[in-house]
Symmetry: C2
Subunit: 456 residues, 2 copies
Amino acid sequence: MDVSLSVPSRRAITRELASYAADSRFAALPDNVKREATRAFLNWIGCALGGCREPAVALAAATVAELGGSPHASIIGLQQRTDVASAAFVNCISSSVQAFDDAHLATVTHPSGPAGSALFAFSEKSKVSGEDFLNAFALAIEIECRLSNVLVLPPSQFNVGFYVTGLTAPIGVALALGNLLKLDQQRMNWAIGLGASQSAGFRATHGTMTAHFRPGHAARCGVWAAMLAAKGFTGDDYSLEADKGFFDVFSAQADLALAVDGLGQHFELLSNTYKPYPCGIVIHPTLDACLEIRQACNANAKVAQATLRVHPLALSLTGVRTPGTPLESHVSLYHWAAATLVRGAAGLAEMQQDCIDDPEIATLRARIEAIPDATIGRGEAIVEVMLTNGQTMRSHIRDARGSVARPMTDEELDAKFSAQARMVLAEEKVQALLQLCRGLAKVPDVGKAIGAVLHG
Amino acid sequence: MDVSLSVPSRRAITRELASYAADSRFAALPDNVKREATRAFLNWIGCALGGCREPAVALAAATVAELGGSPHASIIGLQQRTDVASAAFVNCISSSVQAFDDAHLATVTHPSGPAGSALFAFSEKSKVSGEDFLNAFALAIEIECRLSNVLVLPPSQFNVGFYVTGLTAPIGVALALGNLLKLDQQRMNWAIGLGASQSAGFRATHGTMTAHFRPGHAARCGVWAAMLAAKGFTGDDYSLEADKGFFDVFSAQADLALAVDGLGQHFELLSNTYKPYPCGIVIHPTLDACLEIRQACNANAKVAQATLRVHPLALSLTGVRTPGTPLESHVSLYHWAAATLVRGAAGLAEMQQDCIDDPEIATLRARIEAIPDATIGRGEAIVEVMLTNGQTMRSHIRDARGSVARPMTDEELDAKFSAQARMVLAEEKVQALLQLCRGLAKVPDVGKAIGAVLHG
């Protein structure tokens, strides 16, 4: 019996990914990928602006004031600068904390937060062109979603309790930052292993600040991985596929080819979507149905009770019956259905404490039945409602708004961004930042240009 | 179907541990625990001094120079100060990198590194008495080893590929630092969840610098968890036992009672041991046998071949046949057996490159057969040797030197410490530090007193 170091028994995907990341260039990206990366970045920075005044961000920033480092990067929305890793950490909490960010539905990964936060922080320290930035950003999202596919999709026997973004984002961020740092393949291998060695998180923290700590931590870990690898800090060459390696411990039966087949040809980034509603992505089709019913009702109609038929994952991940706080509302299918049926809206106002505490909404929450149904798709929902006058109404949503089949339009994304950015920026800055992000590929120095708007 | 936040289906061990950590005081510790905590700290700081000149430490310190924060704590052996979390990170790499630290054999956890590194760094920023320090240190080790028992011991079906220290140390460190920060039970709960949300690491990195990154990262994560919780950053109250929580994802069948039964009465810390040899703990009984055989031989005798009969875990974790570097030697049972049989010693010299490259040792490495035998205990080994003159010799070790059954004596620990400390300190400082550590409970300000010796 003999164990050899560095001899994989499975396909050497670590090296394949390292090689792809080292060689990845903007010019080689198809136009639709360039466009989607641009949209994802606009969505990310809007979410970071929208969330930056939340209590979790203030507490994280206060901790960074004690433990963080040199003022190389900004904390969005605050007059505070810190090191690249710590800025990535806090800004990612901002972009995550309203549950309004993005989602790769097949794996429930939220890829842009760690990617955008880490790369933007780095771009404030070191000059990065818009093209290089977007390429690295697309790379991070691509790697995150592909590794998430390996973890989650059959034949994997994945434990749904793991927080997928926390497992894959440190690796995606490490490779993307490695691309900007021009790491060679050897150091890219090490960056992957260092990132994977920090993969962490489970779903039981949902509904608390710690749920948003997790992506921030993933962003920070990715930065450390790339920076250490850049110094020459060594690791294993086969950390993903090795016996006792990343996939062995997190998803042993997984199909590793999902990580690497068609790299540069097929882009999983194109299956990433932007949230139209600030709550768990699996709630969204239900909200479309509730909005449709509400719009079809007489303005004075009141809903007496409702039945939701949803994909089982919607209840597994967001089955909280009675949220006590805005953070808990993110994982309450019942709250969002009730609030939407009462108010005819599903925006940031519906996650505020006054909405959670609204007696009419609380009463309806208790009168909603949610039925998990394995024949219902992840982006699908059927809602049946009885009004107080006895009338019944029904809506069947097959593809949620914002899904791959019904993507947010540019105009919708611009409107979402503007509403979020207005929470902290004057209107002229909102418009300047929107134009800057829409034309990001042409910007010579991303950190400098965006910093001038944010802090100028 | 309904999912409620914060309602555990299993025993609420998170709260029990939080409560224990909040109330833990030095005066309540039995004398043997006080003594063992003192010995563990002496062993830890010796290892940190012995390892602080290794290349991995220099690279980590260089990265910390870019990403680390305010100069609140020292990097041992370097003229560099940084924030508490980053100092914990680097100093723990130092104490780990020679694989000479400590081990809780039942779970192959190395508890002192993250605990000592995090608490010592904190004690340089904030005044901590020797009694409070040792209490927190014992607490961290106790929690780490108990949580490791839950993960690893039956009925758990644990994946041996996970790096146990990386999973449990962030939680142990968070609670110990929480004790020094005087967190109330609510914040202790959150600290546990924040620590557990950073639990990470797998064994495929063995033999590289990343293997030693992992405990350093765990130390740092524990610091962040406690500091964030101290600010009021919220988390789940049941993160360990919850559905989709820590044990659900890492070891679902586990017996949670192992974490909490007999807290304050039975101390798992007393099953932690100090390494007499700088390599994987599962190699140690083989080295005792090799030394016994070597000492019984004529000084000129040469070993022609050897057979090792060992616990299967020894081969699973340290089965590397041909190490290329000192770091790879840590996980090469074959190298250590060969080097010990040739040189009659198993110390730091036997992990150096010249020993790895020694043709006589390389030849013997190839002539060693290692047989995994499930009837052999973890601390047991049988070595049979044939000399070049045809003579055969045999040694059967039932309890390795340094094990719970044959613990390192105070004199042996002092000698180990002194040899390590002499690598970076003048003799008078070595002796002063030894006396200080031996009497640590009486020291009014640990960071100041030790800092005066290290940097004075």
